[in-house]
């Protein structure tokens, strides 16, 4: 038998398949990984520390830069936390606008994941499809709030901008188009033999492990755990809409893929209802005191971001700035399981597994 020598391989931090500045030090025995150690922090900007000297409105743009593929949900979780503490009511129209942008954001975020994941696995063309469709959502956001990625759209008590005339109609037109495209995606990729060979049974774990590791989002649901905060702890106005929470059964990369694909369809389903029920007029900002000073005490709110549970823990001393602000970032928590998943896998599967977790480094490092 041929004896192989242990090889220490450094992956990243500037590796295209690490989706940002993520570094992984792997020990290899031949092609098999014997140990994997993630190294993070390259994008750490001290958001939580900075927030302690900013007022709540000023913190909103910082949340954009955490999970920059899903800035809308980040905006929401901060505003929602402050609103919960202060008992601020958000007007109907603002609630609808928030929900619509958050669901569009979920689709956009999953599209980036879909495109880049397949790119990681060696399929180039899906990336071009995904980014074309995502661009349409980005254009909608651009029209709404003047930014493509870091929206700074929400405020404590509502949203900064009302929808410009005709914007809702554009969203309405986008939904059937996207539904059609999703079918196209399925035809193009979901049954592809090479793709299946790369993801089926790869990076598999069971529900018990997923729960113990505190995974959330598709990483949890792929094991069959039906847990979606939009359904289980409804916030915003999610309890008014019909949608399903897709779950997998095997907990492998393929199930995570299927769950995310179905989530896009369900998001479109929510959007369709929301656009129909969108109030024709109304305020976009609720009654908010001039100085936003949550009462002394603390709160923890959490919502379902495209990557899982994003939470915001505020400790307030009754001042305009938070005494302590902590974000529970789903990518950070989800990534913990990676060393466990990689041991015993081949180096080729590393990329498939890492991509399947769907991380955004801005959020991991915060």
């Amino acid at each position: 038998m041929i004896r192989t020598e242990e090889l220490l391989l450094n992956v990243g931090p500037q590796h295209p398949s690490t989706h940002g500045v993520f570094r992984l030090v792997v020990k290899l025995d031949g092609e098999v990984i014997t140990e994997a150690t993630p190294v993070i922090g390259y994008l750490h900007r001290g958001t939580e520390k900075l927030a302690e000297s900013l007022n709540y409105t000023q913190i909103v743009p910082y949340t954009d830069r955490m999970d920059y593929l899903s800035a809308m949900t980040n905006n929401y979780v901060l505003c929602h936390a402050v609103e919960t503490m202060m008992g601020i009511e958000v007007p109907e129209r603002a609630q609808f606008l928030r929900l619509i942008v958050m669901e569009l954001q979920r689709v956009a975020s999953h599209l980036v994941w879909w495109g880049t994941y397949l790119l990681d696995l060696g399929a180039l063309s899906p990336f071009l499809f995904a980014f074309k469709e995502r661009e349409m959502i980005i254009d909608l956001f651009n029209e709404l709030c003047g930014a493509r990625l870091t929206y700074n759209y929400m405020r404590v008590g509502g949203v900064k901008w009302d929808a410009p005339p005709g914007w809702i109609d554009k969203v309405r037109d986008f939904i059937p188009y996207m539904e059609k495209q999703l079918k196209e995606y399925d035809r193009l990729v979901s049954g592809n033999e090479i793709f299946l060979a790369r993801v089926k049974g790869v990076g598999q774990y069971d529900a018990e492990t997923a729960i113990a590791y505190g995974l959330s989002g598709a990483n949890l649901r792929c094991t069959g755990v039906k847990w979606d905060l939009r359904k289980d702890e409804p916030y915003c106005i999610y309890d008014r809409f019909e949608f399903d929470v897709p779950v997998g059964t095997n907990g492998d990369c393929y199930d995570r893929y299927l769950v995310r694909m179905e989530e896009m369809r369900q998001s479109l389903r929510i959007l369709k209802q929301a656009v129909e029920q969108f109030p024709s007029s109304g305020e976009t900002m609720g009654k908010v005191p001039r100085a936003i000073r949550p009462p002394a005490g603390e709160t923890y709110v959490r919502i379902e971001s495209p990557r899982g549970e994003i939470g915001c823990h505020i400790v307030s001393k009754g001042k305009a700035e938070p005494y302590r602000l902590k974000f529970r970032r789903p990518s950070f928590n989800n990534l913990q399981i990676l060393p466990k998943l990689l041991v015993g896998e081949t180096i080729t599967n590393l990329i498939a597994i890492l991509g399947g977790v769907d991380i955004v480094l801005g959020e991991v490092d915060c």
Partner: protein, 386 residues
């Protein structure tokens, strides 16, 4: 094991780790600071005009948008031009409705409004002072100047808290503090508790209740709140912790109304490990999922908060462990919930809390050779240039 040892052993990484972090991102994120100085989006050309509404908390606005807000306020107030009412109430609501397109008219309106406000403020002095008698009155007299209102409110809160604390200290076991009904819960049920802890607890609860009442305005301060639907969860967990772990395991227990009635239990550090296992494994609790771990520097002490959850019953708890600031140490929960691994490392890194029992306690966000723990309130960077 000393800190250095742990670092040395656990670190697989080569020295490149100490290189300056590269912030280039594939998806093209902007640098963190980019939008920070300008929390408000520049107005895109395609947008209809909005006023800023004053809710954004940014410093003095140029006259072009500030008057718009005030003009709207004046309209919402009952007396047309009686601006003071609008000033308080309309601060946030002014956003969308600012229809006036002409700058000059706006400025003029603002001037008028300001004059009216000054006059009305003088008039309101007497009225607001009278209104300050009851706790709810401060918000009722919303017409008054917000600063003044805040001052009155603060004074009331202070007074209420003082009274409540006194009452609680004197009342001892009877727990007769007015308005404290919401929080007496689990603490009051146990007769063996030390009177001192209890008094402190009740005083705190009373303070919170008084504050909540003062801020709520419409809720009369004397009216006791109905117990939270999550109260039984709290009582049950406290009871189990006392009977199964240690009679002294629980330091404090309360429903946190600000966090959606989160049952919040403060557990003594030496009993935390056993308490964690109980929370996870007991059939009534079954909190197998750890959703978040936060560390807080309260300057007098450090606190680690674990948020645990039962995914089936949706029963959840926030468990707090207080620890000394000089020698902060909290038994690690990672052996119980593997998901606490990185969050605990993050707290170790940023706040300097030691977690004995953690399998791999190293810095996670800051470089390995970093000096100090940035989230400490008294943190001073070693090298201010960095």
């Amino acid at each position: 094991m000393s800190e250095e040892n742990k670092r040395e052993e656990g670190r697989p990484a080569a020295p490149e780790q100490q290189e300056p972090a590269n912030t280039q991102e594939v998806a093209g994120s902007e640098p963190a600071g980019a939008g920070a100085e300008h929390p408000n989006q520049p107005q895109p050309d395609t947008m209809p005009e909005h006023s800023d509404g004053g809710a954004s908390g940014k410093p003095a606005e140029p006259s072009a948008s500030a008057p718009a807000g005030e003009g709207t306020d004046a309209q919402t107030a009952s007396g047309g031009e009686s601006a003071p009412a609008g000033e308080g109430a309309g601060a946030g609501a002014g956003a969308a409705a600012a229809a006036d397109p002409e700058r000059e008219a706006k400025i003029k309106a603002a001037q008028e409004a300001r004059a009216a406000r000054l006059a009305a403020k003088a008039a309101a002095e007497g009225g607001a002072a009278g209104g300050a008698a009851g706790a709810g009155a401060a918000t009722g007299a919303g017409a008054a100047d917000p600063e003044r209102e805040a001052k009155i409110k603060a004074a009331q809160e202070a007074r209420a808290a003082r009274l409540a604390a006194k009452a609680a200290a004197e009342g001892g076991a009877s727990g007769g503090a007015a308005g404290a009904g919401a929080a007496t819960g689990a603490g009051a049920a146990d007769p063996e508790r030390e009177a001192k802890i209890k008094a402190a607890q009740e005083a705190r609860a009373a303070r919170l209740a008084a504050k909540a009442a003062a801020e709520g305005g419409e809720a009369a301060p004397a009216e006791p709140k109905p117990p939270s639907p999550k109260q039984p969860w709290l009582d049950e967990a406290v009871e189990l912790l006392k009977s199964e772990v240690h009679p002294e395991a629980v330091e404090e227990a309360a429903i946190n109304a600000l966090a959606g009635d989160m049952p919040t239990i403060t557990v003594k550090a030496e009993h935390w490990r056993a308490a964690a296992e109980l929370l996870r494994d007991h059939e009534k609790l079954g909190c197998k999922y750890i959703r978040n771990v936060t560390g807080v520097d309260y300057e007098t002490h450090l606190e680690v908060v674990y948020f645990v959850l039962n995914l089936e019953t949706k029963r959840e708890y926030a468990i707090k462990i207080r620890t000394d600031r000089e020698q902060p140490s909290v038994p690690s929960a990672t052996p119980v919930w593997p998901g606490a691994n990185w969050p605990e490392r993050e707290i170790y890194d940023l706040l300097g809390v030691d977690f004995p029992g953690h399998p791999d306690l190293r810095r996670i966000l800051m470089p390995d050779d970093w000096v100090g723990h940035p989230l400490r309130k008294d943190y001073v960077p070693l090298d201010p240039e960095v």
